[in-house]
């Protein structure tokens, strides 16, 4: 099943299972069903609970806050992750603060989902991965959608909690089929699933037993899929063996499965599509370097897109964005 359809089904399950769930966002109503068609069919089947709004990202986030404070479970869609900047005040100064600053008297369980990422040639303001600016906001969880995590299960786990969540969905994953672990395997690779206390999964994928892997790769979203393909190819063609760890919640991180892998491989590569500098990889590198001080075989390697605007020209975009080639290059660097 393709990821967009699976996400639509996850939202459908949420609407079915919990009367408090409300969807808000731009252009969600049928027949359009959302800019990426994820919500197609939902406004018809759940009238009044799936609402299209004017182009008001601040109000979308803010109304979601008020709904959540009143006991509802709003799931807001921000059409492009690039537009998260317009919700920044509502997310940081309101949604993420209410419960803590009111000393636990209320909860504000808003879920904001947004399609993000480049590779389609959509240009500087429709291609970014801005989640990096939300990492480390206290009391805000950031979750990344990946092909190896089942969306309905992830959404259910998020709805079972009362904390605010930013859910990042890379738009290039939408037309791809999910690759869920079946019988401990994804395609022919070994796939191990670790579930956090919150019910959020991390999947570890390797072609050969962990002891034979010489490095760990940490990635999420579309980059996780690129890394998976690259590692698969490098294993078969060149006997370069690495273990890919794909967390669903990317901030804060569940370190247990990551540590379990690095503890054996002693080498880590962190890949992200966001731009380089003060990024996801920076945080992971700092923590892993500290935790495994003296035991790593080489410094943690981070790979991210170049810190500049994302050009519309696909050729120019491919020069600064994390692409398959750059992922493979980064893997070779850590495998050397």
């Amino acid at each position: 099943m393709i990821a967009a359809r699976a996400m639509g089904d996850a939202l459908r399950a949420a609407l079915n299972e919990d009367d408090r769930v409300i969807l808000l966002g731009e252009d969600l109503i049928d027949p359009y069903g959302g800019a990426f068609k994820v919500t197609r069919g939902l406004s018809t089947d759940f009238p009044g609970r799936v609402r299209s709004t004017p182009i008001s990202e601040g109000a979308i986030a803010g109304l979601s806050a008020g709904l959540a404070l009143s006991g509802y479970r709003p799931i807001a869609e921000i059409m492009f992750g690039d537009f998260l900047t317009l919700c920044f005040d509502q997310i940081v100064n309101h949604i993420a603060k209410y419960e803590a600053m009111y000393n636990g008297k209320v909860t504000c369980p808003v879920i904001i989902r947004t399609p993000s990422g480049g590779g389609r040639g959509y240009g500087p303001t429709h291609s970014q991965s801005l989640e990096k600016h939300f990492f480390g906001v206290p009391h805000l969880r950031v979750v990344g959608s990946s092909l190896v995590h089942e969306p309905t299960a992830v959404l259910r786990a998020l709805l079972a909690q009362n904390s605010p969540v930013l859910l990042i969905e890379h738009k290039l994953l939408y037309p791809l089929h999910l690759l869920l672990p079946v019988g401990g395997r994804i395609e022919s690779d070994i796939a191990e699933v670790h579930v956090s206390a919150d019910g959020l999964p991390t999947v570890s994928i390797r072609a050969v037993p962990r002891e034979d892997c010489s490095f760990t790769v940490l990635a999420y979203g579309y980059q996780a899929e690129l890394a998976r393909r690259a590692l698969s190819r490098l294993a078969v063609v060149e006997e370069i063996f690495g273990e890919l760890v794909v967390p669903s919640q990317i901030s804060p991180l569940d370190w247990e499965p990551i540590d379990a892998s690095v503890n054996v491989t002693r080498s880590l590569l962190v890949i992200e599509e966001g731009v380089d500098g003060f990024a996801w990889g920076s945080e992971v590198a700092a923590r892993i370097s500290s935790h495994f001080f003296g035991k790593l075989r080489r410094p943690v390697v981070t790979a991210a897109s170049d810190p500049t605007v994302i050009p519309s020209s696909k050729m120019l975009e491919a020069e600064m964005l994390m692409t398959f080639e750059r992922v493979e290059q980064a893997i070779r660097q850590v495998a050397a």
Binding site: S56, G62, S64, A65, G66, L67, L69, H94, G104, P138
Partner: protein, 326 residues
């Protein structure tokens, strides 16, 4: 990234220790919030006097160095809070801004909780974490970012609509808030979706140090009217005049299929926060002539007024003593 022993995960924030809470009973003191059966005029006076004396005491405690941080007193605007809250039901919700003490005290009467909160004590309304601007109590919330509260209040209104409840979501803003885009996004959406939202604009003519003439183009009431909201406007510091308008406005809000705006032209007699008042002295002096406490207080008999003043004083002293002892 290190081990943060004092950071609590969401879900670990709990109300103050129940034993502490149990020790602080009777947060609502009739001497401050209204004695059952007393004449309406006295009730209104008493409730305004409560807010006035609370704010003055607060500023005095700051002067004496017993409080730290920042605060935004509402001296001169007490009538607005009382006039509106008098016409609210228990299941209505109030969202206020940085200058929220009057609204909070009018709504909850919890002087000790607020004092303790501003003192940063665990017995405070929000455990000392929220402080002066970030308060939460049944039917009441406040936050300190201009305009940011308006969408939250609209969301609460939407929840009431989905609940098919007849209650209202009231949000207090200032003239300065009209600079924030979030306000207009929300007016548009609230009107479009016919939300039971009441926007109360307290125009005190000044946004911190900037007069509204330097901040606002066009007309205040037209802004609301542009989005289709009925507007109830009054220029007064007389609590009875304001209450009359509030009564009409809120009655309409309950029957009207959509948001309503109440614009009260008023004046802040104290500093914006502390020691930051550079308004023309003669302007401020002239406005003291229109002190709402005086205007309404004159309606009471001299002895009745003196008696209420004494009760409020004594009740507040209790609160301050207990708060300082925590």
């Amino acid at each position: 990234m290190g081990v943060h022993t004092h950071v609590r995960e969401l879900g670990q924030y709990v109300e103050a220790d129940t034993t502490i809470a149990a020790a602080i009973v009777d947060r609502r003191d009739a001497r401050l919030v209204g004695v059952p059966g007393e004449p309406q005029a006295e009730r209104l006076y008493r409730r305004m006097r409560f807010i006035r004396r609370f704010e003055e005491s607060l500023l005095e405690l700051f002067e004496r160095g017993l409080l730290n941080g920042t605060t935004h007193a509402c001296i001169g605007q007490e009538a607005n809070a009382i006039a509106i809250v008098e016409h609210l039901a228990d299941d209505d919700h109030v969202f206020s801004n940085h200058r929220c003490h009057g609204h909070f005290l009018a709504r909850t009467g919890d002087a000790l909780g607020l004092m303790a909160e501003i003192m940063g004590k665990p017995e405070g309304v929000c455990g000392g974490i929220g402080g002066s601007q970030h308060l939460c109590a049944p039917g009441f919330m406040s936050n300190g970012v201009q305009g940011g509260i308006v969408p939250s209040a609209a969301g609460i209104a939407l929840a009431k609509q989905l609940d098919a409840s007849a209650s209202l979501s009231v949000v207090f803003i200032g003239d300065g808030t009209l600079g924030e885009g979030a306000t207009y996004e929300t007016l548009n959406l609230a009107s479009l979706w016919r939300l039971p939202l009441v926007v109360v604009l307290e125009d005190n003519g000044w946004a911190q140090s900037t007069p509204s003439s330097a901040n606002l183009a066009g007309s205040m009431r037209d802004r609301f009217a542009a989005f289709g909201l009925p507007v109830f406007e009054i220029d007064s510091t007389d609590v009875e005049e304001i209450a009359a308008v509030a009564e009409r406005a809120l009655a309409q809000a309950r029957t009207h299929d959509g948001p309503v705006a109440i614009v009260i032209h008023t004046y802040r007699l104290c500093h914006h926060s502390k020691n930051d008042d550079n308004r023309p002295a003669d302007e401020v002096a002239a406005r003291w002539e229109l002190d709402p406490i005086e205007i309404h207080g004159r309606r009471l008999g001299v002895s009745a007024r003196a008696a209420i003043d004494a009760e409020v004083e004594s009740a507040l002293q209790d609160v301050i003593d207990r708060a300082l002892a925590l």
